[in-house]
């Protein structure tokens, strides 16, 4: 098969580009340790999340020094708790599940983003920095009221967080 010299060069450069792209993702995983939403949590009975210790009372709780867990429930058409209040300069692990259909959970303008599937628990870990307020949008169509489904994430100072007693509501 005859392949033009320029085409061979193009082919070689294409393969370099592809390997480089795979390389960036691999580096992201093993270097900075970018973790994917995955199967870290076991399944949950979507109809029975009111009996689940984590989600019967959606909240933020401290689990270690400067480490927090947020248990969030998505439903047609909102998030609980709202706002989600977390302290600044801390590590927050969000566990998000749905009580009905598939939703999205996206802290607008950031890479904190996950699908929320009934029967599964999505786990993402984020680092907060300065106190600020973010919007949370459901970014997967979930029914006729999808566009009214929103939440808030408030990052507050450590002292303000402690004055709230560590609970978000």
């Amino acid at each position: 098969m005859h392949i033009h010299a320029y085409e061979k060069l193009w082919l070689a450069l294409s393969i370099v580009l592809i390997l480089a792209l795979i390389g960036t993702v691999t580096y992201g995983a093993v270097g900075p340790g970018v973790a994917m939403v995955a199967d870290s949590q076991s399944t949950i009975d979507a109809g029975g999340i009111d009996e689940d210790e984590r989600f019967s009372e959606p909240r933020v709780e401290q689990v270690g020094e400067n480490e927090y867990e947020a248990y969030v429930v998505a439903y047609q058409f909102g998030f609980e708790p709202t706002p989600i209040v977390v302290p600044a300069n801390s590590t927050v692990t969000l566990q998000v599940t749905s009580r009905d259909v598939i939703h999205g959970f996206e802290v607008a303008g950031t890479s904190a983003n996950t699908m929320v599937v009934p029967g599964e628990v999505s786990e993402i870990t984020v680092e907060t920095d300065e106190p600020t307020e973010y919007g949370i949008v459901c970014n997967e169509y979930c029914g006729a009221g999808h566009h009214v489904m929103e939440g808030k994430l408030h990052v507050v100072s450590q002292s303000e967080f402690e004055n709230r007693g560590g609970d978000s509501e």
Partner: protein, 596 residues
């Protein structure tokens, strides 16, 4: 087949029965394009809050109609028309039995009509039927059974179409045992091979789970399983949209440019790569799904990146073929040859602009495929921005441009106005440049896709690239230009159909510079490629699907049913929201206008 004879006779002269099927398929395709464009302009103006002529709760009916009519009906009807033309033309023999051909056309038309009715009924309150589940129909949102049944009938129609072409090819093979498969036929057969593999999963999802569930035979489904089966189909289907455009770029564009295809063997390599790689990648649409292990996502990512290869090769071959034509017609210089191209022909300019936008879409696609940076843009408006460059321009604009060349061949009627055609394809390019660029930018701000009202009461988007409002204006202007362009295309075609028939329109396709005789014979060994493709699919999907079933069960971990089509919908919503406080109850009570 003698060249002299072909140069005198058009396709419709030689194959009048097949030409009638091709025209019928194209007209079905463009009817869907018209409906899709109407819903497109409604939704663009609604989302950007320029004009809201429907309540926001109906936005999702509009969005479902736009999606299904555009990417199932418009694209696939065009494909079956083009492939019928290409296979018949390149084998130079009629289809085996035209009744079978009309049968699959009839099945596809019936199926799409049923699905279309189920969607459009959503606008009529007095009919207790709707299918506001969008093009992806993720369970546990549930459509009316007619929606799923129509899709199943439509897909069966495409399967019979493929069988029709394969049988005609085999009959040709008996008469020509030692000849290479003609290039266009090779493209048809490889694309249909991919389609059989890919569509088997969505057929399984519809027939085993979604249709029985919508009819009440089973109580619930596993949302991750049906979603995974959808994306098993949902990624290769984008190549099913794209391969007709590739066929036109490889086999027609060089001719229009005044030259010949640069390399037949590499065209075959590209189509074989699509057979092998287009299916074992669907999990890249599920990078953000819980319940799927990271390793499976990584495998899918790797395959996805290699899937760039055939498109990068195509970029080279197509540009080289066009340059060959330009230089043959006196073009010279490093870039000076660009002036020796037929830019006044809408079929040429349309395809070139489509290819240019495909390159841009390819780069935004690399971002989507990048498993980690994808987190920034997943399910944001970036994603529709991306696929309006690919399917919305690379495919749609190539199809429209292709018609300016192809319609005279299948009807003996000259195009009504090439000037309007040229204006139309350039208008599409400008409209899409505005709309798609602004959609990408809004995506980076975090603006979600698939929502009637992307402005929220509790927060403002950060300001970049001119801000949310300014980008909205660009989207609205772009969408309007696209709508005008579509109407000009359809009007031009309608006037063309009113033209009298003439003779002397035939434009035979030239053979490639490097022909089939240069291609290794193994490339034509379809059995081999199918076997390897199936192995890759099993490697990519067997373990994830087994794990999903093991985790959640075949019918899901206690997930309910959320019909979008029953009258009790509002009651169900109210019940779900009852325990919740304040604003939430308001929201579910009247769903839409309340919160703002």
């Amino acid at each position: 087949m003698s060249t002299a004879l072909e140069s005198e006779r058009t396709f419709v002269d030689k194959f009048p029965d097949e030409a009638r099927v091709v025209r019928a398929a194209f007209l079905s395709s463009f009817f869907a394009l018209f409906l899709g464009a109407v819903f497109g302009i409604i939704q663009t103006l609604h989302r950007t809050d320029v004009a809201r002529i429907i309540p926001s709760t109906d936005y999702y009916t509009v969005l479902t109609a736009h999606g299904v009519f555009m990417v199932i009906s418009f694209t696939i009807f065009f494909l079956v028309g083009l492939f019928t033309w290409a296979l018949t033309r390149s084998l130079d023999r009629p289809l085996l039995n035209i009744k079978i051909t009309w049968t699959w056309y009839g099945l596809m038309a019936t199926g799409m009509t049923l699905t279309g009715i189920s969607i459009l009924a959503g606008f009529v309150d007095s009919i207790d039927m709707s299918a506001d589940v969008l093009y992806t129909f993720y369970a546990p949102l549930q459509a009316h059974p007619l929606f799923y049944a129509g899709l199943a009938v439509f897909i069966v129609g495409t399967w019979i179409a493929g069988a029709d072409w394969f049988r005609t090819f085999l009959a040709w093979r008996r008469d020509h045992p030692d000849e290479r498969i003609p290039l266009q036929t090779f493209m048809v057969l490889t694309t249909m091979t991919m389609w059989y593999i890919a569509s088997s999963a969505v057929a399984a999802s519809v027939l085993l789970f979604l249709l029985p569930w919508s009819l009440g035979f089973i109580e619930q489904v596993n949302p991750t399983l049906t979603r995974t089966l959808f994306w098993f189909f949902g990624h290769p289907v984008v190549y099913f949209w794209l391969m007709p455009a590739y066929m036109l770029w490889y086999t027609v564009l060089p001719k229009i440019a005044g030259g010949r295809l640069f390399s037949d063997p590499l065209a075959r390599v590209v189509f074989v790569l699509f057979v092998l790689l287009s299916t074992p990648v669907g999990i890249h649409h599920q990078y953000l799904d819980p319940g799927i292990a990271e390793g499976f996502k990584f495998i899918s990512m790797t395959n996805t990146m290699f899937l760039l290869l055939p498109s990068l090769l195509t970029a080279f071959t197509v540009v080289a073929s066009v340059e060959y034509g330009a230089r043959k017609n006196g073009g010279s210089g490093l870039l000076g040859w660009l002036t020796n191209l037929p830019w006044r022909k809408p079929e040429f300019t349309g395809m070139m602009l489509a290819g240019l936008m495909f390159a841009a879409g390819g780069f935004s696609g690399m971002v989507n495929a990048g498993m980690n940076i994808n987190y920034l843009i997943h399910n944001t408006l970036w994603v529709p921005g991306h696929f309006h460059l690919t399917v919305g321009t690379a495919v749609a604009l190539t199809m429209m441009a292709g018609i300016y060349w192809l319609w005279p061949q299948i009807s003996n009627k000259p195009i009504y106005s090439s000037q309007i055609g040229l204006f139309q394809v350039v208008l599409w390019f400008i409209g899409m440049a505005l709309m798609s660029n602004a959609m990408h930018a809004q995506g980076l701000l975090g603006v979600p896709r698939r929502t009637a009202e992307p402005e929220y009461s509790g927060f403002d988007y950060p300001t970049m690239f001119g801000g949310f409002e300014e980008l909205n204006i660009q989207i609205a202007i772009g969408g309007t230009l696209l709508f005008v362009s579509t109407i000009l295309f359809l009007g031009n075609l309608a006037l063309t159909m009113g033209n009298p028939k003439v003779s002397g329109l035939a434009e035979p396709l030239p053979s490639p510079v490097s022909g089939a005789e240069d291609a290794p014979k193994v490339l034509d060994n379809l059995r081999l490629w199918v076997s390897i493709a199936l192995v890759l699919v099993v490697l990519a999907y067997a373990l994830p699907i087994a794990a999903i079933i093991q985790r959640g069960g075949l019918l899901g971990p206690g997930v309910g049913t959320y019909p979008v089509w029953l009258a009790p919908l509002l009651d169900a919503l109210a019940d779900a929201a009852a325990p919740l406080v304040g604003a939430v109850t308001d929201a579910s009570g009247s769903l839409a206008e309340v919160v703002r």
